[in-house]
């Protein structure tokens, strides 16, 4: 298709700008929600801070004022947004450490887990979806169907415990030095989390394949003598892919929240553990920092997924323009 030379660029620019604006809006909404929700529902952090000590009411009040907690909510909010715009996430109420440093320290192990779980979920989700959608009546298809149902239905915590038990059994029986279950290990957690995340993808691919394999154009392809494998790859799967890609992006959110449970069950460090302890401690600045990070990751993966999906599906591309 021939188009005027400047058209693609302006189109791209508007798309990027529009995306960036809506990403900022999402970020702002997330931060604001977190800010007020925590302060309204979360309780007074000074209580947690001084839980073990016999602080008098005057000492509690002094701490509150030092932490800026007795300013009005609006004042605190304006201060917070002001700092945030300058890239300052503040300091932990608990340890006085810089929130960026606290989060930075726990980010690598979580990223490692989320990325490897993502790879696992792609491989598992694709295989299970293909097997159950393309061979719905064969044994392999039925097994894949059952597995993807389990992946969707079983909570990550249960899968994790089963994985630890199974690995413990295996390592005692066959490979004593395997050390699969050691705290901090990566193999079992990423399998567990990846399995949980694969369910939705497998389901989507399965449903899509079942639908397209009955479509008239596939019958026509078959009549033209195209091999079964090629029909699957080039004809049946293609319309399913954009949905699969958007779903995978949604998984980013699942993986982020899944790390909370996975890290706890497998005694791994990371953002999930940090989030839980920060919420229980009432350490607002840390929780908010994590919300900012989560929202940023979420909007970023979403935008990337939309670009990819629009390349895969011309209908989406035209709708965007």
């Amino acid at each position: 298709m021939v188009s005027p030379p400047d058209r693609p660029r302006t189109r791209l620019l508007t798309v990027v700008l529009r995306r960036a604006l809506s990403a900022l809006g999402t970020l702002w909404a997330a931060v604001t929600l977190a800010f007020f929700a925590l302060r309204i529902a979360g309780g007074d952090p000074t209580h947690s801070l001084l839980a073990q000590g016999l602080a008098s009411p005057e000492q509690v009040a002094a701490l509150r004022s030092h932490l800026g907690l007795d300013d009005s909510l609006t004042t605190q909010y304006v201060h917070y947004l002001g700092d945030l715009i300058q890239g300052d996430l503040g300091e932990s109420l608990y340890t006085g450490r810089n929130v960026t440093a606290v989060i930075g320290e726990q980010l690598p192990p979580s990223l490692q887990l989320a990325l490897s779980a993502f790879v696992v979920s792609l491989i598992l989700g694709l295989s299970l979806g293909l097997a159950s959608g393309w061979y719905p009546r064969r044994v392999v298809g039925r097994v894949a169907d059952a597995l993807s149902a389990l992946a969707t239905g079983l909570p990550v915590a249960i899968v994790g415990l089963i994985a630890i038990l199974a690995a413990a059994y295996l390592s005692r029986m066959f490979l004593p030095a395997l050390a699969l279950t050691r705290a901090g290990g990566l193999v079992l957690p990423s399998l567990t989390l990846g399995f949980g995340a694969s369910g939705a993808l497998a389901r989507a691919i399965q449903a899509g394949l079942l639908e397209t394999s009955a479509a008239p154009y596939l019958v026509a392809a078959r009549a033209r003598g195209i091999a079964r494998g090629a029909r699957l790859m080039w004809h049946a799967l293609r319309p399913v892919l954009p949905l699969a890609v958007s779903l995978s992006a949604l998984q980013a959110a699942f993986l982020l929240s899944g790390t909370v449970v996975t890290e706890t069950v497998f005694s791994r460090p990371g953002l999930g553990r940090l989030l839980v302890s920060a919420i229980l401690d009432g350490d607002y600045p840390v929780v908010q920092g994590l919300v900012v990070l989560g929202a940023a990751v979420y909007t970023l993966t979403h935008s990337v997924a939309e670009v990819i999906a629009s390349h895969l599906d011309p209908r989406l591309r035209d709708a965007e323009a």
Binding site: G42, H47, Q52, G53, V102, L178, A183
Partner: protein, 529 residues
């Protein structure tokens, strides 16, 4: 076709190799020292500034304290202070320090160092969460000569020795404190103890290595220096994974096991198990004496009699758990059997309520003057409080009350619920080796008097037992009287004395705990060959 099994084996082998190399990023298994499983991952681990009990498990072996408590008797014995004297009026404590002690960074330990540590704790900009409150009415620390230091108090404060025996007031190198400051010192701790602080990676691990220069072990230790090279602490926050970590060989020692897992390990016989009593208060629920219907003695008494506490304890904690009998746990100094709470008596409970005018309405709920018997329980989310709360709820409903159970996920929310005041019973307890911990809970207007109870006699007894320089026998008798009043007034529901359920691998020997129960004496740990 005959090749197929071999094929399979080969493939399984390949998979195993891949898994193996992925799982083995951690150091080699030859003499990896000891791995100790902790149960929660503390947010900050500077003992002078932070408050968790968990931090003391590793750090009480990094620091020495001025005095130590005999693990068996609770008697105070010399450590960094070789002797001490207390003035007649109980307001001045003079410590004579050892002269042969130096910190792990080579700095000498002397009276100036003691003063610097106390200054660090007291500094209002440091916001100490626990240590500062343990110093009570401390007014000043006076350095006499390099080996003499005196603590001056505004009023007598018997728990001072207890405070100074705890890791929260352990002696840190003043140079390290000054170099790193309150934010970063937790990552660079330096004490005089049998282990050096090697590394803290939040949520991942804490590592200690043996201090080869240690030559001033107090008499409570069986060894002069540490017997293992390295102790690594890891965090097993999910209770369900603790016994598994032990069984898989990932951890050598684990505390706070879920009771049923601990029972299983005990029957199993492959591990050493121990139930370490924790002095202080048992798990308990305090009655709200300010709000109807629990402001009424007869109602509180009836609610107490309606609970089969041994059955509740056995259901939730298994067969080998101690049932609590008062505001102090049975193994605490100051506990008195004379204050034991009444046993389960359903008939007496119903009679008390009937006599007080509570009669069943048409819906089966007890009523008096058109007001139904409505109760609200607030249970902390930790330590099996919600499970116990459910059993209490069921028992009171069987009695004819309408009961609501709320769970508070953090101490902040528990405190919030307390401030709102609309509860009938709320879970709260404190640990400690000195019974003076009862004072803030039972004196009129005390910080933790969540019962809202006020009795001048109780105030007087608590004041005399804790605030004066009373002799031990006299204090003991005063605490017995206090326990009787708490029982007779039905101020609380004692549930279960705390025990730390520990299990360890057979290769671990010499695992002992401090008088406070939580903290292991790591110096005495040995590895069986």
């Amino acid at each position: 076709m005959t090749l197929r099994p071999a094929h399979w084996r080969l493939r399984a082998g390949l998979v195993a190799v891949v898994f193996f190399s992925a799982g083995c990023s951690t150091p080699s298994t030859t003499n990896r020292g000891v791995t100790y499983g902790l149960t929660l991952s503390p947010t900050g681990i500077d003992p002078h500034l932070n408050a968790s009990a968990e931090l003391g498990i590793p750090l009480s072996s990094v620091y020495d304290t001025l005095v130590v408590q005999d693990p068996a008797t609770g008697e105070f014995l010399p450590s960094l202070a070789s002797s001490w004297s207390i003035s007649e009026d109980g307001r001045s404590y003079t410590f004579h320090l050892r002269s042969d002690v130096h910190f792990q960074d080579g700095e000498p330990f002397d009276a100036e160092a003691v003063a610097a540590n106390i200054d660090y704790v007291l500094d209002p900009d440091h916001h100490s969460q626990k240590a500062v409150f343990m110093l009570g009415p401390l007014e000043d620390v006076v350095v006499g000569d390099s080996q003499t230091v005196t603590f001056l108090l505004a009023e007598p404060y018997p728990p001072l020795l207890d405070s100074l025996s705890q890791v929260y007031l352990g002696m840190a190198s003043p140079k390290a404190l000054e170099t790193w400051g309150p934010v970063d010192y937790q990552f660079h701790q330096v004490g005089t103890g049998p282990f050096r602080f090697e590394e803290f990676v939040p949520n991942d691990h804490i590592t200690l290595t043996r201090n080869p220069d240690y030559a001033w072990a107090p008499s409570i230790y069986r060894h002069a220096t540490a017997q293992v090279e390295r102790v690594t602490f890891r965090f097993y926050t999910d209770p369900a994974t603790r016994a598994l970590a032990l069984e898989n060989g990932d951890a050598d020692i684990l505390g706070e096991l879920p009771p049923h897992d601990w029972d299983r390990l005990q029957r199993d016989g492959a591990f050493q198990v121990e139930s370490v009593p924790i002095p202080g208060q048992p798990m308990q629920f305090l009655f709200n004496t300010r709000r109807p219907p629990t402001d009424e003695w007869a109602v509180r008494q009836a609610l107490l009699l309606a609970l089969d506490r041994p059955a509740i304890v056995e259901t939730v904690f298994g067969p080998s758990s101690p049932v609590a009998q008062g505001p102090l746990s049975i193994n605490s100094w100051g506990y008195s059997a004379a204050g034991s709470f009444p046993a389960y008596d359903e008939a007496a409970s119903a009679r008390l309520l009937a006599d007080a005018g509570w009669v069943p309405g048409s819906d089966g709920v007890l009523r008096r003057n058109d007001i139904s018997l409505e109760l609200s329980i607030v249970a902390p989310s930790w330590g099996y409080n919600p499970e116990v709360g459910q059993l209490i709820e069921a028992a009171w409903e069987a009695l004819g009350a309408r009961v609501e159970l709320r769970v508070a996920p953090s101490f902040g929310q528990l405190k919030e619920a307390q401030e709102q005041g609309d509860y009938s019973a709320i879970g709260l307890n404190f640990f400690g080796t000195d019974p003076d911990l009862l004072r803030p809970m039972f004196t009129s207007g005390g910080i933790y008097n969540w019962m809202g109870y006020s009795d001048p006699l109780l105030d007087d007894l608590l004041g005399r037992a804790g605030g004066s320089a009373a002799a031990a026998a006299e204090r003991s008798e005063l605490y017995a009287q206090i326990a009787r009043i708490v029982r007779d007034q039905g101020l609380l529901i004692p549930i279960r004395d705390y025990v730390n359920l520990v299990a360890s691998h057979r290769r671990i020997q010499g695992l002992r705990f401090s008088y406070a129960g939580w903290f292991p004496l790591l110096i005495d740990l040995e590895l069986a060959s």
